[in-house]
């Protein structure tokens, strides 16, 4: 029960940093101070395993990015830059990729980082026993990896993969110590070992994870302000699921940094001297409603179109989000290349919605005004993950419920904790849902809407929640994923998005923003562009 967990966590003792709330704002050019503890409170929930190869979700990536590093990184423009790898050479046919590794990097347990380590990691991610969903999908075209020499790992592919380096840049495909992996899943889940500026030193379940500085750190990502060990001694990573409590903890000085802020709190923090807000559009899919087209009533395209034509989103985006987000008309986030916009396909037209429902046979209405067909009510089951949807978003869903009611839909909202929600999705026990999917490439469309991904990954999660199965779309997404010709990719992704809009499978709402609030005593905090995750290697806390 997530609500119970919320109460427990909210009442858990929070360690305050001495005197940090009362400090006056400091200028940015002050010199870094080594030492100190930073307390981070996350609203994304507590991972069940700290190894992001297992499953592979946002909570794992957030806490893991400062411990586990990737072969590649991305710059602000989305271009691939070296990190643990120095570069990659792709063969003529696109089926062999040689990744050159940087020399002199070691995992924090002393194991050297080399080609054998890369092989061990890729093997671990592809092993069905690892129960990966994100990494295994990203590596779908990789058939094998071998160590050509200590500093070259050769990836052999079944088809060309234009998104391979982008995939490898994500924390879910981060490099972990082979000796750590060899300890077995349970031990590795407790404290995976990486090359990053921090080390997992303690995990008190339902309370906090402690990260301690890696004194031997020498692999800072491109764009970092300094190389060498981090300034902070420790990071205390706390779990406060309740948005209002999290912001109150920041305001009172109990924590220094929070994520997943409510829009009204963003406005309040941005206008205050004591707090600042860091935002970045998460790459991948926009926040959107997925209509389960595999089962009644949304297996009928007319019913889907009627739902979308009656779900009025814009007034809610304006009033609930205080101008912090813009409406999206695309399944791709604005920070993902090739995002199209189909504003006309999402226009509100209740007359059209009523006509479509009449045509689809939902002609009579019961005493509540809900449409009926053959004795069945037009009920739309909507499970909501209270971990993934902030309260403002849940209010937006209530408004969609109210506007679609006018044409005769009975939308039933069910707020669920993360595991119950995954269970509902896994058994296709829903008609509409909102699922976030972060991926730093337009190839996210293949993950989310290729018919192959109706079949669940080893973790049990099937990313194609809309149950989209269109051979023409599959062909476009496959071609776009294989070609290295930018013009072909652009044409294919545009056509794919048009197919999705025409078929009314998805209702895009707005971009998923990373909203990090922090006390102005915290200096040198940045977001790594790959997944817009906070990087603490350059961060220090003003005494």
């Amino acid at each position: 029960m997530i609500s119970l967990a919320g109460v427990v966590t909210a009442s858990a003792l929070l360690i305050a940093l001495a005197g940090c709330a009362a400090d006056a704002p400091v200028s940015v050019d002050s010199t870094p101070v080594a030492g100190g503890t930073l307390t981070y409170a996350t609203g994304f929930g507590e991972p069940t395993c700290l190894d992001p190869h297992v499953g592979g979700n946002m909570p794992q990536a957030l806490v893991g990015t400062n411990v586990l590093e990737s072969l590649f990184s991305q710059d602000e423009s989305g271009a691939i830059v070296p990190w643990l790898a120095s570069g990659a050479t792709v063969s003529e046919d696109g089926l062999t990729v040689d990744v050159a590794l940087n020399e002199g990097i070691s995992f924090t347990d002393g194991t050297p980082f080399d080609a054998d380590a890369v092989v061990a990691n890729i093997t671990h991610m592809k092993d069905p026993n690892t129960a990966s969903s994100t990494a295994i999908l990203a590596l779908g075209k990789v058939t094998s990896v071998e160590a050509v020499d200590p500093l070259t790992a050769r990836f052999t592919l079944s088809e060309p993969d234009s998104a391979l380096q982008e995939s490898l840049a994500q924390t879910w495909l981060a490099m972990e110590s082979p000796a750590g992996l060899a300890r077995g899943m349970d031990a590795n889940c407790e404290a995976p070992i990486g090359t990053g500026p921090f080390v997992f030193s303690e995990w008190v379940k339902q309370d906090h994870v402690t990260l301690t500085r890696n004194e031997a750190y020498n692999s800072a990502p491109a764009g970092a302000a300094h190389s060498g060990p981090a300034y902070l001694d420790t990071i205390e990573w706390r779990f406060i699921p309740d948005t209002a409590t999290r912001f109150a903890a920041l305001q009172s000085g109990q924590v220094d940094v929070i994520d997943e802020m409510q829009p009204d709190n963003v406005v309040a923090a941005a206008s205050s001297d004591q707090f600042d807000v860091l935002t970045g559009a998460l790459p991948g899919a926009s926040i959107r409603l997925e209509l389960n087209s595999g089962y009644a009533p949304f297996d009928d395209e007319r019913v889907r179109k009627a739902f979308i034509a009656s779900a009025d989103v814009n007034p809610g985006i304006e009033s609930l989000f205080f101008g912090t987000v813009d409406r999206s008309y695309s399944v791709l986030s604005t920070s993902t290349p090739y995002g199209a916009s189909f504003e006309d396909d999402y226009a509100i037209d209740t007359d059209k919605a009523n006509t479509l429902l009449d045509e689809a046979g939902w002609t009579s209405r019961d005493s509540d005004g809900t449409r009926m067909k053959d004795g069945e009510r037009l009920v739309v089951d909507f499970p909501i993950s209270t971990n993934q949807s902030i309260p403002a978003e849940q209010s937006l869903f209530e408004q969609i419920q109210a506007t679609t009611k006018e044409v005769g839909f009975d939308v039933e909202l069910h707020p669920l904790d993360l595991s119950s929600w995954y269970a509902a999705l896994g058994s296709w026990d829903f008609d509409v849902t909102s699922a976030i999917y972060t991926k730093n490439s337009p190839d996210v469309l293949r993950i989310l809407y290729h018919s192959d991904n109706i079949i669940p990954a080893p973790s049990g999660y099937h990313p194609n929640n809309a149950h989209v199965s269109i051979p023409e779309l599959d062909a476009l997404l496959t071609e776009a994923g294989e070609t290295s010709d930018a013009a072909v990719r652009e044409k294919d992704y545009a056509a794919a998005q048009k197919l999705l809009a025409d078929g009314a499978y998805v209702l895009p709402l707005y971009d998923h923003l990373q909203k990090i609030g922090y006390s102005t005593t915290v200096q040198g905090l940045t977001l790594l562009p790959t997944l817009q995750i906070p990087y603490f290697g350059d961060t220090w806390v003003q005494g």
């Binding site: 609500s3 209002a244 809610g316 849940q394 408004q399």
Partner: protein
């Protein structure tokens, strides 16, 4: 209010009149003194709540679910005396329409608790030593758990929802009532008038129905009035935790939960549903106290 007061009065009066001499006290003259200003106010509040529960349209003709995003987060003003919430719904309308689910949960849960307690309590008091031992130990085990925890346990097993949370609160209150009924029934069973009835050859059913039950129930009846207030608070607590009414149902606990996200910017979203819970619980408690005093005299 005027509509209800004779009914409540006669309810309170009837058991005393019907039990000539058995309880051993006369109440006739206490009537005027028991109902002070506070009690009259409590009666008035309960009257208003009952009207809100039965005919909410009379007090608030609007639709509690009607949204108007352009009117979101309005502070209390003319037209929206309690302000509006994040979707522009009128909070006054929602508080009025929220009376029915909140009161129904409170009353139904107490009813379930009393019914269960009657069975357990009477079985323990009149069922012989073995039954008494079994039931009493069982009640002691239940007592080891705080009531709300017991309710949470039931919800964890049977899933959230209005029906389960009502049953859960009812089950959680049952042990307390059962104990009181047991000791009261035991005391009454040993009373001279019951012995007299036995000597006169009355049937067991008649003794139970005419003599033991009414007298064992008198103190419980007073407790029920107090218990409804507690049940309302518990039901609201469960809805607040997301285990009762589902959004965006107009229910006080659920409204509190939705409002707490905006505590810093829109205090009225939590204040008014919170006030409704406090007032409803206080009114039933004040009335229960008055009845308790009256019974003790």
């Amino acid at each position: 209010m005027t509509l209800l007061e004779p009914e409540v009065e006669s309810d309170a009066g009837r058991p005393a009149d019907g039990r000539r001499g058995h309880a051993g006290s006369g109440h006739g003259s206490a009537r005027g003194r028991v109902l002070g200003v506070a009690q009259w106010v409590a009666l008035g509040v309960i009257g208003v709540l009952l009207v809100a529960a039965v005919l909410p349209g009379l007090l608030a003709p609007g639709d509690p679910l009607a949204i108007d995003p352009a009117q979101a987060f309005l502070s209390p003003r003319w037209g929206h005396p309690f302000g509006t919430d994040e979707s522009g719904r009128d909070i006054y309308t929602r508080v009025v329409h929220g009376a029915a689910p909140s009161l129904v949960i409170g009353v139904a849960a107490t009813g379930i608790g009393i019914a269960l307690a009657l069975v357990l309590g009477l079985a323990a008091a009149l069922g012989g030593r073995v039954v008494d031992f079994g039931v009493s130990r069982f009640l002691e085990v239940l007592f080891a758990f705080p009531g709300l925890l017991l309710a949470l346990l039931v919800i964890t097993v049977y899933g959230p929802g209005v029906v389960t949370s009502t049953i859960a609160v009812g089950l959680a209150t049952a042990p307390g009532y059962a104990r009181i009924i047991r000791s009261q029934a035991r005391a009454v069973a040993g009373a001279p008038y019951v012995e007299a009835a036995v000597v006169l050859g009355r049937s067991r059913a008649r003794i139970l129905g005419r003599h033991i039950l009414p007298n064992a129930l008198l103190p419980v009846f007073v407790l029920v009035t107090l218990g409804i207030g507690q049940a309302i608070v518990w039901a609201a607590a469960l809805s607040y935790l997301g285990l009762g009414a589902e959004p965006p149902t107009a229910e006080w606990g659920a409204m509190l939960f939705a409002g707490k996200n905006y505590l810093a910017t829109a205090w009225w979203m939590t204040f008014f549903p919170g006030l409704a819970i406090v007032v409803a619980a206080a009114a039933t408690t004040v009335l229960g106290r008055a009845l308790q005093k009256r019974g003790a005299r």
